[in-house]
């Protein structure tokens, strides 16, 4: 956060005002992370400890360890017919977004990342990834990861997957 510039702060304020849908699936992700030590349960790949993450996975958009996914919650569009910046065919990228600042080990720079959801089809179901910080209960909506924010799109609540777009370098 210390590298965030004015743009980032504006985006952060926008997030504070509008937040995102991330949290809804994030809750599932959090639960999956919570299950990391349990046998026979689906486990978010982000639950792996940092020691197990290799450099190659930080450059693979279909990996939870991909460097842009540092604050993502949801199904990775790269696994669902889209990419880290584009939605799968026939889905709509929600204008509602949340941001994070992620470090790219390949160029040793920090970037502001916008996590736009893709909406209008049911859940992709592939590559659930949850790498994030705590959240607040539902009564603090803009800090809660228990809302489905695809509701803010023309497509309404059907949620498909999440992208991770570079907005700008973080200075």
């Amino acid at each position: 956060m210390k590298h965030m510039d004015l743009l980032t702060e504006r985006l952060t304020r926008a997030v504070a005002q509008r937040s995102s849908r991330r949290g809804f699936l994030g809750s599932l992700g959090a639960l999956m992370v919570g299950a990391a030590s349990l046998p026979l349960l689906p486990v978010a790949r982000g639950a792996q400890p940092p020691a197990e993450k290799d450099h190659a996975s930080t450059q693979d958009p279909a990996s939870c360890e991909y460097w842009r996914h540092c604050a993502i919650d949801g199904y990775l569009c790269s696994c669902c017919g889209g990419s880290q910046s584009t939605c799968p065919p026939g889905t709509e990228q929600s204008p509602v977004t949340w941001v994070g600042t992620c470090h790219n080990p390949a160029d040793n720079r920090d970037y502001v990342i916008s996590y736009n959801d893709c909406c209008g089809k049911s859940t992709c179901g592939r590559c659930l990834c949850n790498r994030n910080e705590g959240d607040s209960p539902l009564y603090v909506p803009f800090q809660s990861n228990d809302y489905d924010w695809c509701a803010g799109s023309h497509s309404d609540i059907p949620y498909n997957c999440s992208t991770a777009r570079i907005v700008a370098p973080a200075r």
Binding site: R18, G23, F24, L25, S27, L28, A30, L31, M32, V33, G34, A35, L38, L40, L41, P42, G120, K121, S122, T123, G125, E133, G134, S136, P137, L138, Y139, V140, P141, D146, Y147, D148, W149, C150, A151, G152, S155, D156, I157, P158, Y159
Partner: protein
């Protein structure tokens, strides 16, 4: 000895018996024809040991489900299809009807959105009718406070988020939408009487709402700040015994909130944890993390070891408290980690436990904690449970 001789003789004679004779001797009576076109009709009202397991079906969210299980036998009894972003069913006061706030799109995942309260016959598990409501019901992680009935069963309260916050009031007696109440800054519904409920607010206050007999807003008032929503927030997943709602904070502080004639009162908080528990980083967690048994005045809490941000994680134990003394009276070691628990309301209660990352329902004796049975392959992502 006589039997042995008889058996030996039979063995000697056997080769002489013709195949035809053998066939006649072994032929059991003919089975009667089964009637065609029949479906099971369940007992009504339901057994107190039945449980509704609600399922949002995360990997295919247009296809929400509610699944009914008999806790005594472990048999699945039936199910309902409940649409997009399903939260949970609500049972009528007489338990003969099931009310389900549901969302549908005219083309599955697209087209015109229609929100309804579907009224199901609880014995036939078939829809009787529906009430169209504004297409605003909150699409959220399923939890009990998404919708609930007033204490007399007359009005169904449904939390909306568009992202404007409000509550839809549905008259289940007249079977009509009664109105919408704005709850800006406050979320969810917690009934406190036949015409009253409250919502929980971002600033640490509660919003108390009083209804008229037609379901419109009579008046509302906001309490002073009664809890810390920043440093150790209360979860929005309390349980109710009588006039008191028991909230729990991320760190394990119980905050009772009681309805009085003068409005809501925050009673003195108490902790689920002894110092040794805190030192070992025990804390509550889960999706339906608390349960209560009013008859024995007990509170049940799913517990795990983790840091402050693990408030949604499942736990390997359920700790049981006497609500009169605040003393822990039992630690139940679970067969499988649980994120959701529920207790039946009868004098010999069952404790139900499941986890959204599993499809197993574990059933325990609600008093001594013995594991009784498990039901596997139940749904897809079970969320919260409702008992009659």
């Amino acid at each position: 000895m006589r039997l042995k001789l008889a058996a030996a003789a039979a063995a000697l004679l056997l080769p002489a018996v013709t195949a035809a004779t053998r066939a006649v001797a072994a032929t059991p009576p003919l089975l009667p024809a089964d009637p065609a076109g029949t479906s099971v009709v369940l007992a009504s009202p339901p057994s107190p040991h039945w449980v509704w397991v609600n399922d949002v079906v995360f990997n295919h969210m247009p296809d929400g489900q509610a699944i009914l299980v008999d806790g005594d036998s472990g048999r699945m009894l039936g199910m309902l299809n409940t649409g997009n972003m399903f939260a949970r069913v609500v049972l009528s006061a007489d338990r003969k009807l099931i009310f389900s706030p549901e969302t549908y799109f005219s083309r599955g995942t697209r087209g015109t959105r229609t929100d309804v309260v579907t009224i199901y016959d609880a014995a036939k598990l078939a829809p009787l009718s529906e009430i169209v409501i504004p297409p605003k019901r909150a699409a959220i992680m399923p939890m009990m406070a998404a919708n609930d009935l007033t204490d007399d069963g007359r009005f169904l309260l449904i939390y909306n988020f568009t992202p404007s916050q409000s509550v839809s009031v549905v008259d289940m007696q007249q079977r009509r939408f009664a109105g919408e109440i704005e709850t800006s800054g406050c979320a969810l519904v917690y009934p406190t009487g036949p015409r009253s409920f409250f919502s929980i607010c971002a600033d640490g206050a509660f919003l108390e709402e009083q209804l008229t007999d037609s379901g419109t807003l009579a008046h509302s008032q906001r309490t002073a700040k009664l809890f810390d929503a920043v440093h150790d927030p209360l979860t929005e997943k309390p349980v109710r015994v009588g006039d008191t709602w028991y909230f729990v904070s991320f760190s394990g502080q119980i905050q009772p909130v009681t309805r009085t004639g003068q409005g809501l009162r925050a009673d003195p908080p108490w902790s689920l944890l002894q110092p040794v528990d805190a030192a070992q980083h025990w804390r509550p967690g889960g999706l339906q993390q608390l349960a209560a048994h009013a008859a024995s005045n007990r509170l049940y809490a799913i517990m795990h070891q983790g840091d402050l941000a693990t408030h949604k994680e499942p736990g390997p134990q359920v700790w049981v408290y006497d609500l009169a003394t605040h003393k822990r009276i039992q630690r139940i070691m679970l067969k499988n980690p649980a994120g959701s628990i529920q207790v039946s309301r009868d004098a010999q209660p069952l404790l139900f436990a499941t986890f959204i990352g599993s499809t197993t329902l574990d059933i325990y004796d609600g008093l001594d904690g013995r594991h009784l049975r498990s039901v596997t392959e139940l749904g897809t992502t079970p969320t919260v449970m409702v008992t009659p």
